[in-house]
């Protein structure tokens, strides 16, 4: 009886290999290639469409990872059911091997795939969003099965494994919307007229070509006192998150041109000598 059981266990893997011949391998490879091509083509087309209809971008880009999962799942299902056609025993054996593979070190890959599925359905961020994942900040350009790719402000492409979604906090600055809040700080010396400085910053923000203002997307200008300087902070939405830095730069440049005209000055460096504060001016 015991011998009979042993024989059966050993026979199952052999029968799997019996059904996998050269033709089957070619079929499987063809299906994988077709699925991969489909994923690439649909991804490319949907990215083009989302760029053209920027306002509805999030609706379109949401489909990209979803389609990836659907296409790959359909390919796997087709390979298993129509090409290999396993028996129940073969399936049991496959899952046994699959479990062993997981234990032997493929768990990170499957963790990434599970993370990809969670990102697709839970949508903590989407393609096109400005996100911070771990210590990386940038625009999400692709959510793949295994990793999420973000482009940082200095144009580096960072691949973040999808399992990070379980272990690291992620924040999305725009949550699928085309606009996002931008914080612009300018610093003036304590002697400058802060009311005038605030008005100029406010005007610079609301007249910017990049700004987006509505009842739901208001702007605000705040002042905060520090020991030797004041910080004037504007919070406003940029109409297209891709213009985040241009918005900051344009407002800051125009503000300083106007500040110079109005005699509003930047803070002066301060040295602390033996407990006494000394202000260093240009003359010194």
């Amino acid at each position: 009886m015991a011998n009979g059981i042993d024989t059966q266990i050993i026979d199952v893997p052999l029968s799997v290999f019996d059904t996998v011949n050269t033709g089957t391998v070619i079929n499987i490879l063809s299906i994988i290639v077709v699925a991969w091509l489909l994923v690439k083509i649909t991804g490319f087309a949907l990215k083009k469409i989302s760029a053209r209809f920027w306002t509805y971008r999030s609706m379109v880009t949401t489909l990209i990872p979803l389609l990836q999962i659907v296409i790959y799942a359909a390919a796997i299902y087709y390979i298993v059911t129509a090409v290999i056609e396993p028996t129940l025993n073969q399936l049991i054996a496959f899952f046994g091997l699959f479990g062993a593979a997981l234990g032997l070190g493929l768990k990170d890959i499957f963790g990434d795939i599970a993370g990809g599925i969670v990102i697709t359905f839970e949508k903590p961020y989407q393609i096109g969003d400005k996100v911070t994942i771990g210590e990386h900040y940038g625009e999400v350009v692709d959510i793949g099965i295994r990793s999420t790719r973000i482009v940082t402000p200095d144009d580096s492409l960072v691949s973040v494994p999808n399992y990070f979604v379980f272990s690291q906090p992620s924040s999305s600055a725009n949550a699928g919307k085309p606009e996002m809040m931008v914080v612009i700080d300018v610093y003036t010396n304590a002697a400058s007229d802060s009311v005038r400085a605030m008005k100029i910053l406010k005007d610079a923000v609301i007249t910017s070509k990049y700004v987006y203002i509505s009842k739901d997307r208001p702007y605000t200008v705040l002042v905060e006192d520090f020991p030797y300087y004041r910080r004037i902070r504007a919070k406003a939405y940029v109409n297209d998150l891709r213009s985040e830095f241009e918005f900051q730069s344009e407002v800051t440049r125009r503000v300083w041109v106007e500040y110079a005209r109005e005699g509003i000055k930047a803070p002066e460096p301060v040295l602390l000598r033996g407990g006494a504060n000394t202000s260093i001016t240009n003359n010194q």
Partner: protein, 350 residues
């Protein structure tokens, strides 16, 4: 063949008194009610909002006609740079209704560009007179978002878009003779859904792709019966679609397409709206759209030193989006609706 009538210059030349009364009946009633309430001590300043070319002037003329002895009329012709107008308005002690036309010229989209608007709003809140003002709709929506300007005007009246029968009645009302409508568009376009093949290049290789067009005017009609579609309806549907119910634009399209006594569907420009602009180009287009017409010097002031406005204006001009006359830039009437749709999509019009 009868002589062609002279081409209309503006909406004012075309609309009869009866047209105006019919077209603006609800708006005129609201303004009259506000004036009546003002006589009883309730002051609700009025803002009349309209798109460029929409012809708010005829409404203002009608108000002046009805309340002529009580009204003082003042119109800004370009961007306001001095506050003399405040003193002029203050001097009108014997008039209790102040009509100020084209108030969008009070604000300029630059740092410090709202000072005169603030002065004006101060005058408005401190005066015992009733102010009836007109504004460009794009400037209004901008100022309402950034300065909450509607808080100063309890009575905000948006001029309505015109429907096809109204457009038809006003346009055809100019002519006494018979107008011949000719639908000479290609047969392929005479279906609800048409497919034409276009050519493009991908990796420097020619590539043909199908372009789909939707023509609601042919909905429910089979290809065999397309000839029975009234050419007149087709032509007015097209005019209404391009003008988006703006009478001034509809008249311009009519004027450009009409060769007495024929009007051909093929001579009406394509309603397709394909614009692709840089941020600077879109921004200057927005400014021109928001101001009705604006001088190059004012545009330069708004654009600042970082923008080469000559280049930008040249591109806008070559794309057929703006036109220039004596240094004043205006949006091409036929391109107004398309430009507005594009700028909304770019989230520059809110």
């Amino acid at each position: 063949m009868p002589d062609a009538p002279p081409a209309p210059e503006t909406v004012k030349d075309v609309e009869t008194e009866k047209d105006i009364e019919i077209r603006y009946a609800p708006e005129l009633d609201r303004i009259s009610a506000t004036i009546d309430a003002f006589a009883e001590g309730k002051c609700s300043h009025v803002a009349v909002i309209s798109d460029p070319f929409a012809g708010q002037a005829v409404l203002i003329d009608e108000i002046r006609k009805r309340h002529g002895d009580r009204t003082f009329y003042f119109s800004f012709e370009s961007v306001v740079s001095r506050k003399d107008f405040i003193a002029t308005i203050r001097r009108q002690s014997e008039k209790d209704i102040i009509i100020i036309d084209r108030c969008h010229f009070l604000a300029l989209r630059r740092i410090g560009g709202f000072d005169l608007l603030d002065e004006f709003l101060h005058l408005l809140t401190s005066s015992r007179k009733l102010f009836v003002t007109t504004w460009n709709s794009y400037t209004w929506s901008y100022l309402d978002s950034v300065r909450n300007i509607s808080a100063y005007f309890p009575e905000v009246i948006h001029l309505p878009q015109m429907d096809i029968p109204m457009l038809k009645s006003i346009i055809l009302g100019q002519y006494s003779g018979e107008i011949q409508f000719v639908d000479d568009t290609p047969r392929v376009e005479k279906r609800f859904l048409s497919v034409t093949w276009k050519e493009a290049e991908i990796l420097k290789k020619p590539f043909r792709y199908p372009s789909f067009g939707i023509h609601p005017e042919y909905l429910g009609r089979s290809a065999g019966t397309y000839d029975s579609v009234a050419a007149e309806d087709i032509i007015f549907r097209r005019i209404q679609k391009i003008s988006d119910g703006n009478l001034g634009i509809a008249l311009k399209i009519w004027e450009n397409s009409f060769s007495y006594p024929h009007i051909r569907a093929s001579s009406i420009p394509d309603a397709q709206c394909i614009i692709d602009l840089t941020v600077n180009e879109a921004f200057l287009l927005l400014i021109i759209l928001s101001m009705d017409s604006i001088h190059t010097d004012d545009l330069r002031e708004i654009a600042g030193p970082e923008m080469e406005i000559e280049k930008v204006l040249y591109r806008l001009h070559t794309l057929g989006l703006v036109e220039e006359k004596d240094g004043l830039y205006t949006v091409q009437p036929e391109a107004l609706n398309c430009s507005a749709v594009y700028l909304k999509r770019m989230r520059m019009v809110w």
